[in-house]
Amino acid sequence: MSDIIVKVKDRDGKLHNLVAPTDMNMNVMELCKAYELPVEGTCGGMAMCASCQCYVLSEHDLPEMQDAEEEMLDQAFYVESNSRLGCQLNLTDKMDGLELELAPESE
């Protein structure tokens, strides 16, 4: 088990290469918070607020969307076909090099 790199483009277009541990049961939302990127994670990771919505820019094989995530994205704004909730993306070795962009903040 080793660290992976996740590339996150913030809302100002700045790119951050985040070194992500895969052995801490962490997800993308928590990773962004750990690096103090402007991700609120208001609901704490229950797929209930969409404040960690991001766009997946690379072709990685990501875990399939569960009902809760689909339901939340249904209510969220700025949703695109490549939208995912960061809190539902648990970091795994397969995600090395994953490229993401933070979705705009909604009111």
Partner: protein, 350 residues
Amino acid sequence: MIKTDILIIGAGPVGLFTVFEAGLLKLKCHLIDALPQPGGQCAEIYPKKPIYDIPAYPEVLAGDLITNLEKQIEPFLPGYTLGERADTIEKQEDGSFNVTTNQGTIHNAPVVMIAGGLGSFEPRKPPIPNLPDYEGKGVEYIIKDPEIYRDKKVVISGGGDSALDWSIFLSNVASEVTLVHRRNEFRGALDSVEKVRELSLLGKINLITDAEVKEVHGEDKLSSVLIKHKEKGDIIKETDHLIPLFGLLPKLGPIANWGLEIEKNAIVVNNALDYSTNIPGIYAIGDVNTYPGKLKLILCGFHEATIAVQYAFNKINPNKRYVMKYTTVGGVEGFDGTKKEAKKAAVVSI
């Protein structure tokens, strides 16, 4: 006017537990919460979800945690102002505070304890330019009185249960109901989805899916909306009302204007001592506060409440000496006349 010793803003787990700790010090509490029931997020958002890090509970459902807290504080007869949002605070000449809700209920207390969590739950507003200009002029996020829609044209946007349920209900009230949803699938209860489909076939609900409301227009009040359809392009729809129903989002709300020091949407407190804010007499505990090393955990909020209440006691009773007492030793004496205490060991000689 409601008078109490400690006025607690927020009836979530931390606010509720404050009543217990205050009760042990003979201080009475009153809670204000914007939600219609106590429990905050635990009751409103995830009552059926388990929590695993409450000490001595290997697992407890959030809803059960609230039920247990309510039972624990019952002897201290807390007062509640529910379904009202604490809007303004005014310092009085005697040093106490008057807190007034959005419905005009006035509360007075020498100490205010803000346990507001992530804030009060407010409707999530879609990112439509000028939308706030039409609030109260045809745009409503919450349906308070369905009668105002009688014989009017209504556009509802959203795909959840409330969008479905209100579309069904208003189809018998309004002259025209249009339901706009981004996808052609609905995630609501099966019954409601079926009913909407049925009403749409009967022409009682104008169902527009794969579409979003993107613009609002009107002179003094709303008169039309622009709906962007994925394939058909722009649709202009004449309407008297637009009701966006996209769930609730917690916001710090009016507390942000109380003159408290705020950092990253949270209230800065002195965690080295008593969780006091920059305004003497106002404390902030639980998820609503921030300090170096802050963790937003219920168990941390319980700790903060316990400490803050000791200092609140000193503030309310400056001349009364008191030291903390173990409940095992002192028992729990309620304001309702009940007393719980450990059984005294009997010494019996043979």
